[in-house]
């Protein structure tokens, strides 16, 4: 608290946008508690914090998307009430959301026009908008075709459209929520270049991240949040990754997972030239070949959307293998259903836990037996055995420290970390020979992350073959014995976990490596 001085006395001139004592609750959860925050003209402020620290809530309030329960907002020193993004936009506040706010079947110009459409004789005048898009793109050194349809653009290009959209509305403050989560290191550099240009031209930038290196690289000032509160403010010159990390999590973190060297056994997962179709046709996975051996953790790195999701779903049996072959535990498995694969010893922690991993209205107990409800002793001759289910569930709740420790509550009442523990508990509670975990710690609190990491390593040490897909390079580098990098549906490189560097993997993620798949086939 004390480090932030919302009165503007910290030097550097008056605040352009300022929040004083903001509070926002979601039911019993306090997302923002007495948060004060400000940004000056032409300044790049980084808002640093873990997942769930309250950064997104804060900026959603600043942008009028979310109504605060208490506190005030000031623009140019004047108190304002932002009832909707329209109010925020009118005052020069623009935002690039973590999940882009672009209508996929619309063109770039239509997206930019949306909300302030110029009209002539009642008809929408897109030509004017197209002209403005081209002008803005040229001014800030971005390449954008106003006629392109959004769903045909890469993630990096879409982000540029978002920035142009905000600038076209006259944004003086540009808020970017986790803008680098979906970018390669090289694309990130490009984004930083644009942001520095904007700041030099007088636009203020609020940059949200939980990546220490980036924050140190881009920010003029760093504000750190933890558990819904602002816990400190530093200048990059005075900060180190270690000091920032300590502020972020409130104690020293285990930057590396403690684990013994792997002792790989026989190959439990074998992929040979596997191809998988994407949702919109085409090959999301285009000829992937690799193995995972018993007793090792193989990580898969890559920018989101390069085929990892489809690859995991294909291994798990949720998506057909369109070509090549897949072997699990020595059995040819590409034609087997989910249940047959589970019987071989496959466990799967899915990427989207709300959608796949859990049935939210069901109890914790029912979710703990979600894929084994039909087996004895949980069911006998098709009749469920309430006693046996509850016994098992209570046992798992205690063993995996699921809170609240009540097996009868609906799982939707649990926090993200505890929901994930329910899934991990279920998947690790029986004989696991192959474990596939996709984004196992996304949106999970630090305590649960450590627990999940230890569980994965324990599964490995017990002889399981573990495949982890993650967007967090740090997680993969510390957890995995080997890291494979995917790019455009192919495995483009492999690094030993101990030798992995961010730069090396980053280059591969951007497509700068040789193609392993080609070499092996």
């Amino acid at each position: 608290m004390s480090a932030t001085d919302p009165a503007g006395a910290g030097g550097g001139g008056p605040w352009l946008l300022e929040a004083r004592h903001l509070t926002k609750r979601y039911g019993a959860v306090i997302a923002n508690r007495d948060v004060s925050f400000g940004v000056r003209p032409g300044e790049i402020v980084a808002l640093l914090g873990e997942n769930g620290a309250g950064k997104s809530t804060l900026v959603n309030v600043l942008y009028g998307m979310t109504a605060p329960d208490g506190g005030t907002l000031l623009v140019d020193g004047q108190p304002v009430r932002l009832r909707s993004p329209r109010d925020a936009l009118a005052r020069g506040i623009g935002m690039v959301h973590q999940h882009f706010m672009l209508v996929p079947p619309f063109t770039v110009a239509e997206n930019v026009a949306l909300g302030h459409e110029p009209s002539r004789h009642g008809a929408i005048d897109l030509a004017t908008v197209e002209g403005r898009v081209v002008a803005l793109a040229a001014r800030f050194g971005m390449e954008v075709d106003p006629h392109a349809v959004i769903r045909d653009l890469s993630v990096g290009q879409q982000q540029r459209v978002e920035i142009i959209k905000a600038l076209d509305r006259g944004a003086r403050v540009l808020i970017l929520d986790e803008p680098t989560a979906v970018l390669t290191p090289q694309e990130t550099e490009g984004l930083f270049h644009v942001l520095r240009g904007l700041a030099a031209g007088g636009t203020s930038v609020v940059f949200i991240s939980h990546k220490l290196g980036e924050v140190l690289d881009i920010a003029d000032r760093i504000v750190v949040m933890r558990r819904g509160e602002v816990v400190g403010e530093v200048s990059p010159a005075d900060a180190t990754p270690e000091s920032l990390a300590a502020m972020m999590v409130g104690r020293e973190v285990l930057l590396r997972v403690e684990k013994a060297p792997a002792t790989p056994g026989e190959a439990m997962v074998v992929l040979r030239d596997v191809q998988v179709a994407g949702d919109r046709g085409g090959r999301a996975v285009d000829g992937v070949t690799f193995e995972v051996r018993a007793g090792e953790i193989v990580g898969i790195a890559g920018v989101q959307g390069n085929g990892q999701t489809e690859l995991v779903e294909a291994i798990a049996g949720l998506r057909p293998v369109a070509g090549g072959s897949l072997w699990l535990c020595g059995v040819e498995a590409q034609r087997l259903g989910v249940r047959a694969r589970a019987a071989l010893g496959l466990a799967h922690v899915p990427e989207d836990r709300q959608r796949h991993g859990l049935v939210l209205p069901f109890s914790v107990a029912d979710n703990l037996v979600l894929n084994r409800y039909h087996l004895a002793p949980l069911a006998i001759r098709g009749v469920r055995q309430a006693r046996a289910i509850l016994d098992l569930a209570r046992n798992l709740v205690a063993r995996f420290d699921i809170r609240p420790p009540i097996a009868e509550v609906p799982v939707q009442a649990l926090s993200g970390g505890n929901k994930q523990k329910v899934i991990v508990a279920r998947e690790l509670s029986h004989d696991v020979r192959v474990l596939v975990a996709a984004q196992p710690t996304r949106g999970v609190d630090v305590g649960s992350i450590e627990f999940i990491h230890r569980s994965l390593v324990a599964a490995r040490d017990a002889g399981a073959a573990v495949l982890v897909v993650s967007a967090e390079l740090d997680e993969l580098m510390s957890l995995a014995d080997r890291v494979l990098v995917m790019f455009r549906g192919r495995v483009v490189g492999e690094v030993a976990g101990s030798e992995a560097t961010r730069e090396g993997i980053g280059l591969l993620m951007a497509g700068g490596g040789r193609q392993l798949g080609d070499v092996e086939t």
């Binding site: 942008y63 998307m65 109504a67 997206n111 949306l114 909300g115 302030h116 009642g122 929408i124």
Partner: protein, 333 residues
């Protein structure tokens, strides 16, 4: 609508006319049967097209609408009773639009504001329309022996309507003509105006529209009510253009077929119209079969539009992508 679908529809209509021709009794000239088939097709397409356009605005904004049937039924009653009391067909049409829009307002309130499941909301409206119009038709219409204000007179296209054989095509009643105009207007509104852009944005990705400063709720209310008013014109067709009386349940599933036409037409006005023509042609065969004594069991032919609907929904003729946000209430924090 893709070219393949368009050709499929043309082929089907030609086939239906062909069936009528093949089975007609020899003393009726072929041209008369063909002209009658086409004229009735155009006429029967009117309520289907209007229903589909009603669904179009609603669903394009992201609100599923299975209540077209109920909206049209209620509007048919409103149009009839106001027309009868005022002895003005124009007032009847306006009343139909108002009733349709009010039913739509209820749908919007339930599904947008109260976030009731949109299918449940639509079902509630359908049941409500059936119950209330059934009650009122016995209470008010029958008891007080109200008779209708008659039927809208046909508007003839000078010259063309005199041409032998194809003449009947150009002697349609006003709502039929208005419907054709509305197909064009709906297309322009949806794809060429700022409001249309907003409606489509709200139906595809409401978060994005909200973030761009568009009120999702207001846009959806407006779109649903515009749709309701169009369904109201469709209701007017039943009691002011087709027959001068109100009968309980007289819409007889046309609202649901209209929804199928909307889906088959890929949520576009022109597509919906062409698909409506197909369903109407199936219905036209039914009527013409009776008129020209074509010897096929009436019930078997009568099943045809419904079977066709199922076949088409099952994607036998290819699939189309619905508006992405359909059925999902928008929740802002």
């Amino acid at each position: 609508m893709t070219r393949g679908r368009f050709l499929f529809v043309l082929g089907c209509i030609a086939g239906l006319v062909g069936i009528a021709e093949a089975l007609r009794s020899p003393d009726v000239p072929a041209a008369v049967v063909a002209a009658s088939m086409l004229a009735t097709t155009l006429r029967f397409a009117t309520p289907l097209t209007l229903g589909a356009l009603a669904g179009l605005f609603c669903e394009r904004s992201g609100v599923a609408n299975i209540a077209i049937e109920g909206m049209m039924l209620a509007a048919a009653f409103g149009a009839f009773i106001v027309g009868a009391l005022t002895k003005s067909l124009a007032a009847g049409i306006v009343a139909g639009m108002v009733v349709g829009a009010l039913m739509a307002l209820l749908h919007a309130w339930l599904s947008v504001t109260l976030r009731v499941d949109q299918i449940v909301s639509g079902t509630v409206i359908n049941i409500m329309a059936a119950g209330v119009t059934g009650f009122l038709s016995t209470e008010v219409v029958r008891r007080q022996a109200i008779s209708g204000a008659g039927l809208l007179p046909a508007w003839r296209v000078p010259g063309l309507s005199e041409v032998p054989v194809i003449g009947p095509l150009f002697q349609q009643q006003p709502i039929a003509w208005v419907t054709l105009a509305l197909v064009v207007v709906a297309h322009l509104v949806l794809f060429r105006t700022a409001w249309g852009l907003r409606v489509r944005a709200v139906g595809e990705l409401p978060r994005a529209a909200h973030a761009a400063g568009v009120s999702v709720a207001r846009t959806r209310y407006a779109a649903v009510m515009v749709g309701g008013a169009i369904a109201g014109i469709g209701g007017g067709y039943f009691t002011l253009e087709a027959v001068p009386v109100f009968e309980p349940m007289m819409t007889n599933g046309r609202g649901f077929i209209a929804l199928a036409a909307l889906i088959f037409g890929g949520w576009t006005p022109a597509g919906a119209w062409v698909a409506s023509l197909l369903f109407a042609a199936a219905n036209a065969l039914h009527i013409n079969a009776q008129q020209f004594g074509i010897p096929v069991p009436a019930q078997v032919v009568g099943m045809f539009p419904y079977v066709l609907t199922i076949v088409i929904l099952a994607g036998a003729i290819g699939r189309v992508t619905p508006p992405a946000a359909i059925g999902q209430p928008y929740v802002r924090d």
